[in-house]
C-alpha cells in the first residue's frame, strides 16, 4: 500500500506538540511504516512537495508563518493542526492584548536580561504581525487537535483516523484546551 505523504511545519510554536507526538511511543513505528516524511523542521528539504497530509503546529505570529501556512495548504490535500496555538491562537495570542510596538520594546529593550537592546529590523528577518492568529484565520484547516499540548492519545487517535481515510473530530472525552 502506498505510503501517505506527510509534510509538517512548526510556526509560532514551542515544539511541545511535537514532544507530545513523540509520546505516542511504539505507535511511531506504525506511523513510520505508513507515512513518508517529507519536509519537516528536522529534515533538510527546502520546498514543500505535493503531499497527502500537511501538519502544522503553532500560531501565525509573523508574516513568514502566514506564507508558510499558505504554501503548505496549497501543497496538501488534508491539513491537520495540533495544539491550542494552531487551533485558537493559544499562548502566542497572549501578547495580543498589547500593541505590537510595546511587545517588541518589552522583549528586546526593557527585558531584565537584556543589555543595550535594539529592536531588530532587517529586511532579512520576518515581521511580527499585529496579532498572533490561529491557523484557520489564514487558510482552510480540515482537522483540529486542541490541547496544550494535546495528549499523545489524542494525536494517535487523530492520525490513525487520517491514515484510515477519515477526517476526525475529537470526541468530547478527548477534547481539552489545557
Amino acid at each position: 500500500m502506498a505510503k501517505v505523504k506527510l509534510a509538517t511545519s512548526w510556526l509560532d510554536a514551542c515544539a511541545g506538540c511535537e514532544m507530545s507526538l513523540l509520546d505516542v511511543d511504539e505507535f511511531i513505528i506504525d506511523l513510520a511504516q505508513a507515512v513518508e516524511f517529507t519536509r519537516s523542521p528536522i529534515t533538510d528539504i527546502k520546498e514543500f512537495p505535493e503531499v497527502d497530509v500537511g501538519l502544522i503546529t503553532g500560531a501565525i505570529g509573523m508574516n513568514e508563518h502566514e506564507e508558510e501556512a499558505k504554501e503548505l495548504r496549497a501543497k496538501c490535500k488534508i491539513l491537520i493542526v495540533l495544539g491550542d496555538c494552531a487551533c485558537f491562537g493559544g499562548i502566542c495570542a497572549m501578547r495580543n492584548a498589547f500593541p505590537k510596538e510595546e511587545v517588541l520594546r518589552r522583549a528586546y529593550i526593557e527585558c531584565e536580561s537584556v543589555k543595550d537592546g535594539k529592536i531588530p529590523s532587517s529586511p532579512e528577518i520576518p515581521v511580527l504581525l499585529e496579532k498572533a492568529l490561529p491557523v484557520n484565520a489564514v487558510v482552510k484547516v480540515d482537522c483540529f487537535v486542541p490541547g496544550c499540548p494535546p495528549r499523545a492519545g489524542d494525536i494517535k487517535y487523530a492520525l490513525s483516523e487520517l491514515l484510515q481515510g477519515r477526517i476526525p473530530v475529537l470526541p468530547s472525552e478527548m477534547m481539552r484546551f489545557d
Binding site: 484565520a137 496544550c148 477534547m175 484546551f177
Partner: protein, 649 residues
C-alpha cells in the same frame, strides 16, 4: 399557599408534567431532560443572557430561551434539534472569540462550565475572528481575583451578590461588548463594599472570578469533595470541602442560593489553611524555664501528678479549667466530665462564659418563668421580618451570613433596618435609622423606644419601667426625632425581629439584656422574635452543657489551670486573670500563641478539619462537621488526651 395547578406539555415527543408558573427549563429539569445552560443558577432569578438553553416551541416564530419562557398547558417543545445544536455551538464560538479564554494557564481549567460546554460541543476551533481585547484583572481583594478576560457576562455573580448576599456590590457597567462587571461605582473589588464572602466566586461558571487561597492547588477531579459544616461563628453553614493529598483545597457552600450555605470570608477562605505555627508535640517547661518537647507519656503523667498534688495539698478548689466554645460538643462533654467527676472541681468555664451568664440572667430577669435560650428565634426569622433592629452588633463582621439575611430581608421584603450601637459600627451605613447613643446609655435609649411604642399602641401594661424621651435625649445625646423615627418603624412593623450581639454581651449586664428582650416583645404582636449572635461556633452547645453556669472562678483564683483552647485563636478575655495568677498552667491548643508560650505544659490539639464534631448552632440546631484530614503525626484527638489524663488520676 395554594398548590400550583399541574400542567402537561409535550417535550421531544413525550408528555411531561409541570406546574403552572414554572419556566420551560424548570419543567425540563424536573423531568430529567437535559438542556445546556450557562447563565442559569438554581435559586437565582433567570435572565436569558447566554441563550444556550434555546428551544423550539410550536407556534413561536423564533427559538426562545427556556429559562425565561413560562410553561403552559399544551406547549409542544423540542430541546435538541440539529438546528438548536448548531446555534448552541455558534454561541460558544462567539463567547470564545469575544474575550481571552486561555485555558492552559487558568486556575479553573477542568472545573469550568464554559469549557465543559465547549468540550460537549466538540468546539475545536472557532469560525469567527478573535477580537483579542485588552481587559483588566483586579487583584486587590484579599481573597478574590476578577479576570475580565474570562468573563462571559452571564451575570450570576451580580445576581447572587444582589439576591442572595443582599450586598449588591457587583453590577454591570457600560454596554454591548464593552460591558464590564464592576464593584460599586467602578472601584476595585478590594476597595469596595465587597464583604469577601465569595458567593460570586462560587457562582462564577468560568475562571473569571477565582480565589487566591485555592487557585492551582487542585481540581475537583483530583481530590474528594466531602459534605461537612463550618463551625466558626455558630450559624452552621453546610459546606462541601474539596480535599486533596491531605490538604483542604477549597471550601464551597453546600447550598449557595438557599439557607445557611453562602459562607463568608472566615468560613470560605480564612480557614482553608493557616500559616500560624502549630504545636506539634507535647511541651514541658524545663528547669531552665524553657519549653522543650516531651513524650505524651511524660506530659500526661506530669499533668495528672500535678492534679493529684494540688488536690491533696490545697484542695480540689485550687484547680480550674477553661474550654473554648469553638470545641465540638464531644470534646466539651469530656472536658466537663473530667473536671467535675475525675478531678472533682466545680471551677470550670468557657472562654466566653461571661457572655452566657449575662444572657442567661437577662433572660431569667425578663421571663421570670425559668425559660432559657429557647425563647430565641431561628435565624430564618430574619428573612420574614419587615423590620430588623440590630443592637450593639455588626453582623456583617461577626456573623456575616446573619448580616446577609438582614440585607436579604431589605431587598426582598423591603424590611427597614435600625442600628443601635454606641461603638463605631459600619453596619449603620445599611440602616434606615442609625442611632449612636453615648457609651453606656443604651438602656436609656431602649427604654425610650419602649415608651414610645407603648404609647402608640396605647399599651398600659408596664412590664419594665419605660424611659421618657427627654431623659433619653439627655443621656444618649441623640436627636429626639431620630429616636421617634426608629420607634415609629418598630410600631408600624408587623414582624419586627431584634438581633443583638457582642456589644451587649460584653457589658455583662443582665438588666440590659432583659431590656433588649422586653423591647423585642413590645415590638412584635406575635411574641418576641429575638436572636443573639453568640461569640463562637459552639457557644450554645457549650452553654447547654452547663459549662459556663457558675462564676466563682474569679474569686477562687485557682492555682492550677487547664485551658482547652483547641484551634481557637488567642484573644485576651475574662479568663486572662485566673490564668495569669495560676502557678501551674496546662494549655491544650493547636497553634502556638502567647498563651502556649507561658504555659508549663502544652498539649497539641487537632484543628477543625482533623476531627469530627457535633455543634449546636446559635439558634439551637445540631450539626456535624466531618473529619477531613489526618492530623500531623503525634497529635492526638482532644477526647483521647482527656481520657489519658483521667487515667493517670
Amino acid at each position: 399557599m395554594s398548590d400550583r395547578k399541574e400542567i402537561t406539555l409535550t417535550i421531544n415527543g413525550n408528555q411531561v408534567k409541570g406546574k403552572e408558573g414554572d419556566t420551560i427549563l424548570e419543567v425540563c429539569r424536573a423531568n430529567n431532560i437535559y438542556v445546556p445552560t450557562l447563565c442559569f443558577l438554581e435559586g437565582l432569578s433567570t435572565v436569558g443572557a447566554c441563550r444556550l438553553c434555546v428551544v423550539e416551541i410550536d407556534g413561536e416564530r423564533r427559538i426562545n430561551p427556556s429559562c425565561t419562557y413560562p410553561a403552559r398547558e399544551g406547549l409542544v417543545i423540542r430541546t435538541h434539534t440539529p438546528n438548536l445544536e448548531k446555534y448552541r455551538r455558534l454561541i460558544l464560538e462567539l463567547m470564545f472569540t469575544e474575550r481571552n479564554h486561555f485555558c492552559f494557564f487558568c486556575a479553573a481549567s477542568g472545573d469550568c462550565e464554559l469549557q465543559a460546554q465547549a468540550y460537549r460541543y466538540q468546539m475545536d476551533h472557532a469560525r469567527y475572528p478573535y477580537t483579542f481585547p485588552s481587559l483588566p484583572t483586579d487583584t486587590l481583594n484579599d481573597f478574590l481575583v476578577i479576570d475580565h478576560n474570562r468573563c462571559i457576562l452571564c451575570g450570576r455573580c451580580v445576581r447572587v451578590c444582589g439576591e442572595v448576599v443582599g450586598n449588591h456590590t457587583l453590577d454591570f457597567s457600560r454596554r454591548g461588548w464593552r460591558t464590564l462587571i464592576v464593584a460599586d461605582l467602578n472601584q476595585s473589588l478590594g476597595q469596595s463594599s465587597c464583604i469577601s464572602c465569595g458567593a460570586c466566586l462560587q457562582a462564577c461558571p468560568t475562571g473569571a472570578i477565582f480565589s487566591k487561597v485555592s487557585a492551582y492547588r487542585g481540581r475537583t477531579s483530583e481530590g474528594k469533595v466531602i459534605r461537612s459544616m463550618c463551625s466558626l461563628c455558630g450559624i452552621g453553614c453546610e459546606t462541601d470541602v474539596l480535599v486533596k493529598d491531605n490538604n483542604v483545597v477549597r471550601i464551597d457552600g453546600a447550598n449557595l442560593t438557599g439557607l445557611k450555605g453562602q459562607l463568608c470570608l472566615m468560613g470560605r477562605f480564612q480557614q482553608v489553611y493557616s500559616e500560624t505555627p502549630r504545636v506539634t508535640t507535647p511541651l514541658i517547661r524545663n528547669k531552665k524555664g524553657n519549653l522543650e518537647p516531651a513524650s505524651w507519656e511524660d506530659a500526661s503523667k506530669l499533668v495528672s501528678e500535678k492534679i493529684r498534688d494540688y488536690k491533696a495539698s490545697r484542695g480540689v478548689g485550687s484547680i480550674g479549667g477553661f474550654a473554648s466554645s469553638l470545641c465540638p460538643s464531644e470534646t466539651l462533654d469530656a472536658f466537663a466530665k473530667f473536671m467535675r467527676n475525675t478531678v472533682g472541681t466545680s471551677y470550670i468555664d468557657t472562654l466566653d462564659g461571661s457572655s452566657y451568664r449575662a444572657m442567661a440572667q437577662g433572660i431569667s430577669v425578663f421571663s421570670k418563668n425559668g425559660k432559657g435560650l429557647e425563647i430565641e428565634s431561628p435565624l430564618e426569622a430574619i428573612l420574614d421580618a419587615d423590620c430588623v433592629l440590630v443592637v450593639s452588633s455588626n453582623p456583617l463582621e461577626s456573623h456575616p451570613v446573619a448580616g446577609c439575611y438582614i440585607l436579604r430581608a431589605k431587598t426582598r421584603k423591603k424590611a427597614s433596618i435600625i442600628v443601635v450601637d454606641s461603638r463605631p459600627n459600619t453596619f449603620g451605613f445599611r440602616a434606615d435609622v442609625w442611632l449612636r447613643p453615648n457609651g453606656g446609655s443604651e438602656e436609656a435609649l431602649l427604654g425610650a423606644l419602649e415608651g414610645l411604642i407603648a404609647k402608640k399602641a396605647k399599651d398600659t401594661e408596664k412590664s419594665m419601667r419605660f424611659v421618657s424621651l427627654a431623659k433619653a435625649v439627655e443621656a444618649t445625646g441623640l436627636d429626639k426625632d431620630a429616636i421617634r423615627k426608629a420607634a415609629a418603624m418598630l410600631s408600624t412593623a408587623k414582624n419586627a425581629v431584634v438581633v443583638y450581639g457582642e456589644g451587649i454581651l460584653d457589658k455583662k449586664d443582665p438588666k440590659l439584656v432583659a431590656r433588649v428582650l422586653d423591647l423585642a416583645k413590645l415590638a412584635n404582636h406575635d411574641g418576641l422574635k429575638v436572636i443573639s449572635l453568640k461569640p463562637r461556633g459552639n457557644s450554645r452547645g457549650a452553654w447547654e452543657l452547663g459549662i459556663a453556669n457558675q462564676n466563682g472562678m474569679a474569686k477562687a483564683k485557682p492555682k492550677m489551670v487547664y485551658v482547652l483552647m483547641g484551634d481557637d485563636k488567642f484573644e485576651m478575655g475574662d479568663w486572662a486573670t485566673p490564668v495569669d495568677q495560676a502557678e501551674f498552667l496546662v494549655v491544650q491548643a493547636s497553634y502556638r500563641s502567647p498563651l502556649t508560650d507561658c504555659a508549663d505544659v502544652v498539649l497539641p490539639s487537632p484543628i477543625w478539619a482533623e476531627r469530627k464534631g457535633k455543634y449546636v448552632s446559635l439558634d439551637g440546631k445540631v450539626g456535624h462537621s466531618q473529619k477531613l484530614l489526618e492530623p500531623p503525626s503525634g497529635i492526638k484527638d482532644d477526647v483521647e488526651i482527656i481520657a489519658k489524663l483521667a487515667m493517670g488520676i
